[in-house]
Symmetry: C2
DNA sequence: AAAATAAGTGAGTGATAACTCATTTTAATG
DNA sequence: CATTAAAATGAGTTATCACTCACTTATTTT
């Protein structure tokens, strides 16, 4: 059940361009950890230096500002989170036919959820930025949203054509599915008490299947 | 279509204990606005003073620290948000029978959504606090969660007894419904582009009904 | 191994933000 | 109207934080 970690792509990205020293790597790791724990504003550069075991000046050697450090952390996350969360649909999953919608939904979401679980810190960071920093939100969404809508849109269209799922506008289908997914991820990220993760996961699949299944209540009334 | 505003309870609360001067009221209003616009950390006390049209010292007259000011804002929100979001179920809605589950869900959620729309600023503030301040989150949740679970739990139990909805654990039902609601609220709060609010709202009801409707996919498999 | 380049250091700096307090202004009371 | 109390003021204090730089240590090159 090995899941890819954004962290790995992270290091991969960096070592492509220039060599990265162990101390610089420690700074990035400490920043990610602290941003996820306390949030960006609540983390000082001296906090980062302390956690990374370096002098504060070292933090500023590669990244000229704290904002640049944040962006250096954010970039690989936004770059890799979409391809993994949204891609591979048409290639792998759709090629083979699934016996039921439930089986299909299960196949698609179990490993996405596993991926999310393996990258909780990264998700926390990206959520904070997207939620409370308007500029950052627009930046992140402009990179993520179009690809996501396109990738998943093609899957949805194929399923619609075969009358396997409800005939609703794609953005509405996506919204309800993502709401369920994020609701689940919120539990992981916020470490809410009294949640049995495994049970929730099976339930998540069931609810998503139910939403997608064509049925009697599908006429959307109102304007 | 007048919906209660937390703002009103806010002023009500304050005027009960002591008299509140116009300038102090302006400070609270400015704080709420700025916290919702920029977030707590990004708002300085001088920002607040400027927006409220008072001297910075005046901000500290009633509230000894910035944190105390935050708590004074947070308290009435948490205190009144639950009774309105979760209550009145058994009293009003459940007494009369609804022709369909859809009608019941519609009746319950339309005014909750309207209430949320009328209090977007307050919701933004409470979400920021709950999302990235662990202490505040526990404080807020300990006040909100138990009441919510209890209030809505009783409604769910009655519906279950009549076999009108799925026989799932209450916390799981709540989670999926709240996920949908929050997914919708996120659009309001983040002002995401390209969303037609009215259409989403009708859709929200439909999805919630679909989730609740008993059916064939309701066995939760997996462990 | 000497020279040159890069990496790392930490005391120091300027700016900003939270918070204080002596004084002034406003409101209440006799 | 005079006196007293409360409210408001804003210049000033302290602390913290992002960021700099002259200098030291490590690494690479010749």
């Amino acid at each position: 059940m090995e899941r890819p970690r954004i962290r790995d792509y992270f290091q991969q990205d960096l070592s492509q361009n220039e060599t990265i020293t162990p101390k610089q790597r420690a700074i990035l790791q400490a920043s990610l950890d602290l941003f996820a724990e306390k949030g960006f504003d609540q983390t000082s550069t001296s906090d980062i230096a302390q956690r990374a075991g370096v002098a504060e000046g070292t933090v500023y050697r590669r990244y000229k500002t704290k904002a640049a450090l944040r962006d250096a952390i954010l970039a690989p996350i936004t770059a890799h989170i979409v391809p993994i969360l949204a891609s591979d649909f048409s290639e792998d999953e759709l090629r083979q036919r699934y016996p039921s919608l439930q089986a299909f939904v299960t196949a698609i979401f179990t490993d996405r959820v596993a991926f999310a679980k393996a990258n909780v810190k990264e998700l926390k960071v990206i959520f904070e930025m997207a939620a409370f920093d308007t500029e950052r939100r627009e930046q992140i969404l402009s990179q993520i949203a179009p690809k996501m809508v396109k990738q998943m849109g093609s899957v949805i269209n194929k399923l619609k054509a075969d009358h396997l799922i409800v005939d609703w506008p794609n953005d509405l289908i996506l919204q309800s599915l993502l709401s369920q997914l994020f609701g689940y991820l919120a539990q992981l990220m916020l470490e809410l008490p009294g949640t049995e993760i495994e049970r929730e996961q099976a339930y998540l699949i069931t609810v998503m299947t139910k939403i997608l299944t064509p049925g009697e209540h599908d006429q959307i009334t109102g304007q």
